[in-house]
Symmetry: C2
Subunit: 406 residues, 2 copies
Amino acid sequence: MARIVMKFGGTSVADLRRIRRAAARVKVEVEAGNDVAVVVSAMAGVTNAMVQLVSDAASLADLREYDVVVSSGEQVTSGLLAVVLQSMGVSARSWMGWQIPVRTDDAHGSARIEAIEVQEMLRRFGEGQVAVVAGFQGIDPQGRITTLGRGGSDTSAVALAAALQADRCDIYTDVDGVYTTDPRIVAKARKLDRITYEEMLEMASQGAKVLQTRSVEMAMKHHVRIQVLSSFEDTPGTLVVDEDEIVEQALVSGIAYSRDEAKITLLRVLDQPGVAAKIFGPLAEAAINVDMIVQNVSAETERTDLTFTVGKSELERAVAVLRARQEELGFVELLSDPNVVKVSVIGVGMRSHAGVAQQMFTALAERGINIQVISTSEIKVSVLIAEEYTELALRGLHTAYGLDAA
Amino acid sequence: MARIVMKFGGTSVADLRRIRRAAARVKVEVEAGNDVAVVVSAMAGVTNAMVQLVSDAASLADLREYDVVVSSGEQVTSGLLAVVLQSMGVSARSWMGWQIPVRTDDAHGSARIEAIEVQEMLRRFGEGQVAVVAGFQGIDPQGRITTLGRGGSDTSAVALAAALQADRCDIYTDVDGVYTTDPRIVAKARKLDRITYEEMLEMASQGAKVLQTRSVEMAMKHHVRIQVLSSFEDTPGTLVVDEDEIVEQALVSGIAYSRDEAKITLLRVLDQPGVAAKIFGPLAEAAINVDMIVQNVSAETERTDLTFTVGKSELERAVAVLRARQEELGFVELLSDPNVVKVSVIGVGMRSHAGVAQQMFTALAERGINIQVISTSEIKVSVLIAEEYTELALRGLHTAYGLDAA
């Protein structure tokens, strides 16, 4: 007997037929003698429709009211799943964020969970009742509805699993696990049996949209064992666990990519102390995130070239901010390029092994792919390349690191 | 300066364009210096879609979960209207039933409001903030969401007006007031300037679907002045008020009709003490409402004929219940007829004037319309006639009682 949190995403509860299938999975766990809390997303498409309604209502909507509107979808799904479970003979009740309560800060639209009160839920587990929890939502200290940001139901599930000290947090989704890379691009991509939190974090933030980044951070902090699995197939998924649970660690676990990058180069910036602050300060003030940064030595003395990346959707704004300060910053020319992709190789194994980056550069060079920017962290090497080479680079790296399926 | 509750029904908030129009009306009241609480329904069609979802999910759904699902529509509208008001420069915030809170009993699906706590709302009126309240919903003593039954937002509005001791409760709807009778049938129907609570109650329960019956009862009890008016036209509506506010009271104020009736006749029932209880007891147990009842003397001694009406949708069940008890009840034959209509003339003036019923019977007889059942109350005379005579009867009575527009 175990205590389990099961989370079903939007496509897994897209209609009543799928809600019934999800309920059948819940019933299996209940009949195995487990205590079960289920966290549900809104039915596929509903949250997008709500977001659209609010943005049509006003260009700059009060985020407290935004949260009122967009949190409604999870309320509907939780009630429906409770009804379906009951009709299958499984004792169940729905819980809204404010009923539990799921206490958050007041950062509406992307609130952080601070505490979840689970005493009553635990008591009802004792009576054999399944808790069906509306994901994505909580209440702030003033008692107003908050939401946790897109994909926030993953975080709801992990936070609930932590509060319940659950043995497992199963995330049912429309893919059957975490892959070495995107199987739509690399046919030889393999499903991973296990991946560490840190690797998953890099995979998620690099564009492998399986789990919300924040949910993985939280799982790592509270040692919540996540399983990512398909709600449509009966195959084992991928376990996301502590590093010490993985006996034989591959050097590289996966290769991620992100097309949501754009490159900006400032040519012949004045090479003086404080110039970087003058460039990145105004961007930060405009809420534009800068990701990779590289500074080249220029031929000219007292001048340097600076290249960095911003989100593709923020490129236009970033260029405007910089051009407005051209005189002050002293650059001679500004080049921008949205047609780039960031490719990252990820693996905790590289902590203890040198040569991973070199292997990447070699593999790309052999395929004639020019590297524009490089950045590295302890368990990751990322390069920026021209977008047209995405598939070639992914397939080449996948082979080079020995990740191809047999 | 006044304190006003404004209620917008589903068709008045059916899309963003209409929500903006409603917001413009709210703004007018705010700029006139009034304290304003707005009660909103779900956008037209949403509640029906939710009801359908729940009934598709399970034939006998837990009403607590039904309430979770169907209350979501009002949540969305309240958030949207608050956003739109803010974008027009009007300070506003949304309130869910559980936030105010609107305390109800635990009769889920058709709960009754027991108390509304308005201190915080009043405080915010002092700061010039409009309260946008999700209608139709409350919480039960266990903190679970309740709903007030179809049309419940009217009751939310009147209860809030009572709690706030509001000067007026304006019900914006898709008709521009209460008419002497259905203008779709009688072209000469007139809009009433004023109508008493009691008359409105009879009009509502007789099928003039302008206001939820329960909201009128509550308005009468708490002396809430209701105004029914169109959200699409700038014309004065109908005031629903205490009898003493109406100086010149017409004998008959209006003529209502209901097609939701079916007739059952039991021929030659044993005429013994207790037989009525034996007939109507089983029907009550089956939750079948009986409306009009008439007992005729039969030619045969110790036998009587009994005729009564039930809701058209309950006719089949009622017949089954009675046939199963034919031997015990001793009736010889059971006749049923769904093709009937109940027509009622209504007016508080008939309390002090005789002859109103006679006038009705004469007017119908002159047009060759046979009366099947008659029932009367202090301010109403109802007759059951064949459905095919509906239009003829309504037009004839409208003329006979001098209600025709000039």
